[in-house]
Symmetry: C2
Subunit: 226 residues, 2 copies
């Protein structure tokens, strides 16, 4: 299993490689060098060669990588050649946004259904999906090939949602609720925490500002915190 050896930082870059490779293919190109890929992605050519070597595809001197072959290999490494179906639990702003977001299809993910427990929301349309009652989710999962669930409910409802999904047979959870969730070992959990990202942006901005005004007194900051 070559896959086991692909480090996660390389995996995180795979979608960016795919995007560039597909653009070049659509423009009629057949080969691309590590140097060109490195320039597009702001990486070093060495890093690019290392990332791509893990797919089993090697570049040829002076010719570079075969674009089509790399697309197939990366797509296969990620398992994106078998399009996955996902459902979303929680049709609030974020859940509805994710349901309507067409960017997922680029990586073989189809949002097949959207669930909520609020009777006011059930039956409403979000893009092409109709919001379904959450108590029909078990039935839905059993009768469709859904393997991934996106959790977009408030933090205090997220663990209950995860427990229910696992019980229904879901094996992959993408959690957008700002809470760590516990799942059994055979379930894969990926978390995207928008608040955490924004916290980092905020503190970096604050530090930049402090660097620039260093030495000046800031009467708003209590001395204990300087």
């Amino acid at each position: 299993m070559a896959d086991e050896r692909i480090p996660l930082p390389s995996v995180r870059r795979f979608p960016s490689y795919l995007r560039i490779l597909m653009q070049r293919r659509d423009a009629g190109e057949r080969h691309i060098s590590a140097t060109e890929l490195a320039r597009e992605l702001d990486l070093t050519p060495i890093q690019v060669r290392k990332d791509l070597a893990s797919t089993g595809i090697e570049g040829r001197p002076k010719i570079g990588f075969a674009i089509e072959g790399l697309i197939v290999a990366i797509t296969h490494s990620l398992g994106w050649d078998n399009a996955a179906e996902a459902l979303i639990v929680g049709a609030g702003n974020l859940g509805s946004a994710l349901a309507a977001y067409d960017g997922f299809s680029a990586y073989g993910l189809r949002i097949a259904a959207l669930f909520d427990k609020d009777p006011e929301k059930i039956g409403r349309k979000v893009g092409s999906l109709t919001i379904l009652p959450v108590d029909t989710i078990n039935q839905y999962i059993k009768s469709h090939r859904v393997t991934i669930a996106v959790i977009a409910v408030p933090a205090n409802q997220a663990q209950a949602a995860a427990d229910m999904l696992v019980k229904c047979g879901i094996r992959g959870i993408w959690n957008f609720a700002p809470k760590n969730l516990r799942v059994p070992d055979d379930v894969v959990m990926q978390r995207t925490d928008l608040a955490a990202s924004f916290a980092v942006l905020s503190i970096m901005l604050r530090r930049k500002y402090q660097e620039e005004t260093q030495g000046e007194e800031d009467p708003q900051i209590p001395s204990a915190m300087r």
Copy 2:
């Protein structure tokens, strides 16, 4: 500057602490122990004490941390006590979703305006915002106190958007486009890459599946890639 010493992993957890502290405060509680916080967030009490020590607030034996004091200290450490205004460039699905997402207000971020270059979109409403023409962005930034810009345009337009924003005086950029962007040293850039997160989820799911079927032949996988 105590702030300089707060490690980024602690910063990433600050929003989760805040959320729990605010829930407890709203429930009428005044103190909370490191053990309780640790249990809520799936951390160790030692980690919690370390994270919170960086705010300058210390817990008292048997009493714990004063909830209100911690809220003030964390909010201040993040700079979230001075509400920031942000604008969004790109009113596609993701940009519109982010514009309508009410979760940002919890961390002192107000989305003040949404811009697009598509004449068909300009003038349309997204929540309470009207989509504005992108060529008025400079004027908008000059006449409002906007410090943060969210980039939600396609990858091939993202660098041009960043260049324009920096030229207009934006100092903090939150980039949702799947592309590394180059900005001057005095600009802070935070990237949220949904495709990268999903790539990790995909490969972890694939590995789990392979573990379970280990030893079985999978005719779909060419031998070079096993």
